[in-house]
């Protein structure tokens, strides 16, 4: 699948990151990889998009992070907070409504014109 341009995700990146972290704590690079693999390569987002977005979610209190040492490396692992779980639920409802509406419009195809 072709990679998607990051600007297409505007407004939905927060929900995607929260969804990736729903399964358990992950570090930044693992989040990028999880997005890529779970979307068959369509969501191959760059560092400059994902890391600052994670920091913003932490500032908003939707995720929290802990530093740990793994194999001699300092690693920052993110996890969802209670507010993050609630926000993800809200985002799923919004996405369902949004995708239903967009599919209803884009899915309509005009009949082939007769000459």
């Amino acid at each position: 699948m072709l990679p998607m341009r990051p600007e297409l995700l505007k407004g939905h990146l927060d929900a995607l990151l929260l969804a990736v972290l729903e399964t358990g704590p992950q570090h930044g690079y693992a989040v990028i990889e999880a997005l890529r693999t779970s979307s068959d390569g369509a969501l191959d987002l760059p560092t400059g998009t994902v890391y600052p977005a994670l920091h913003r979610l932490e500032r908003a209190g939707l995720i929290a992070s802990d530093w740990e040492t793994v194999g001699g490396r300092r690693r920052r692992a993110y996890h969802l907070t209670a507010s993050g779980h609630a926000a993800l639920g809200e985002q799923r409802v919004i996405w369902d409504q949004f995708s239903t509406a967009v599919t209803a419009v884009l899915g309509r195809r005009p009949w082939a014109a007769t000459v």
Partner: protein, 242 residues
């Protein structure tokens, strides 16, 4: 600089390339030093993991480093992407500092300039300490900035980094104006110098010096507005640091 200098399982050459990349990034990022150090440590871990993954996929170490750095983007692009968060963090730290130290300065002036007990009321207080409206505006601006850049952004409209920085500059400028005004009014009042005046004026002079430095930093950051509004998702992936 360059975060926590540990990149295990790679040669010195690869380590030097990662260090050079993170060093360039460190020079380009604005904002609080401790925050930048944490970002660099986090990115180093991500780069290390990416290099390890590429090596597992069968690439040589040089190719693995190339791919990892290419995927992360140019130092300029990554620094630009973090600028908004760093500037917002800078604004919040600065405002927190003024909120924390404000009472330490204000208490001395309140003790020094408080109206006589028999002259109670807001008018008497404003007459005795005419900078109070400035302080009130600064407090409201600070509270608003904190609310629209922190946990309340789930419910409130989020302040952009430019707006947060502008509000920070306003808070610092108001504190500076307040300190200068209150010292000038006290000195020009011709009132006999009391012992309380020494800590009051001293505390204000220290804050004036800090305010001047902070204003200079914040104004320079704000001047570079293009970095505060980077292209969404722009990464500048390329083959730097090979």
């Amino acid at each position: 600089m360059g975060g926590h200098r540990v990149t295990p399982h790679v040669t010195t050459h690869a380590q030097m390339r990662v260090d050079a990349y993170l060093g360039d990034l460190a020079r380009l990022m604005p904002g609080p030093r401790r925050r930048r150090a944490r970002i660099l440590a986090e990115l180093r871990d991500g780069l290390d993991q990416a290099i390890a993954d590429h090596k597992t996929d069968g690439r040589t170490e040089d190719q693995a480093v190339d791919s990892a750095i290419d995927h992360f983007g140019t130092p300029q692009a990554v620094a630009d992407a973090f600028t908004g968060e760093l500037v917002t963090a800078y604004g919040r730290h600065t405002i927190a500092w003024y909120i924390a130290t404000g009472p330490l300065v204000g208490i001395w002036w309140l003790l020094l300039l408080q109206p006589h007990p028999w002259r109670a009321g807001l008018v008497a207080l404003l007459t005795a300490i005419p900078v109070l409206p400035l302080i009130a505006v600064a407090i409201v601006t600070a509270a608003g900035t904190f609310a629209t850049t922190g946990r309340l952004i789930r419910w409130l409209p989020e302040a952009s980094p430019v707006r947060a920085l502008t509000a920070t500059i306003a808070v610092v400028a108001l504190a500076l104006a307040g300190d200068l005004t209150v010292i000038m009014l006290y000195v020009r009042s011709g009132a006999p110098m009391r012992a309380l005046a020494i800590p009051a004026i001293g505390a204000s002079l220290i804050r004036i010096a800090c305010s001047v430095v902070i204003l200079r930093h914040a104004t320079l950051m704000r001047r570079d507005r293009t970095r505060l509004n980077p292209e969404p998702g722009g990464t500048g992936r390329h083959d730097a640091h090979r």
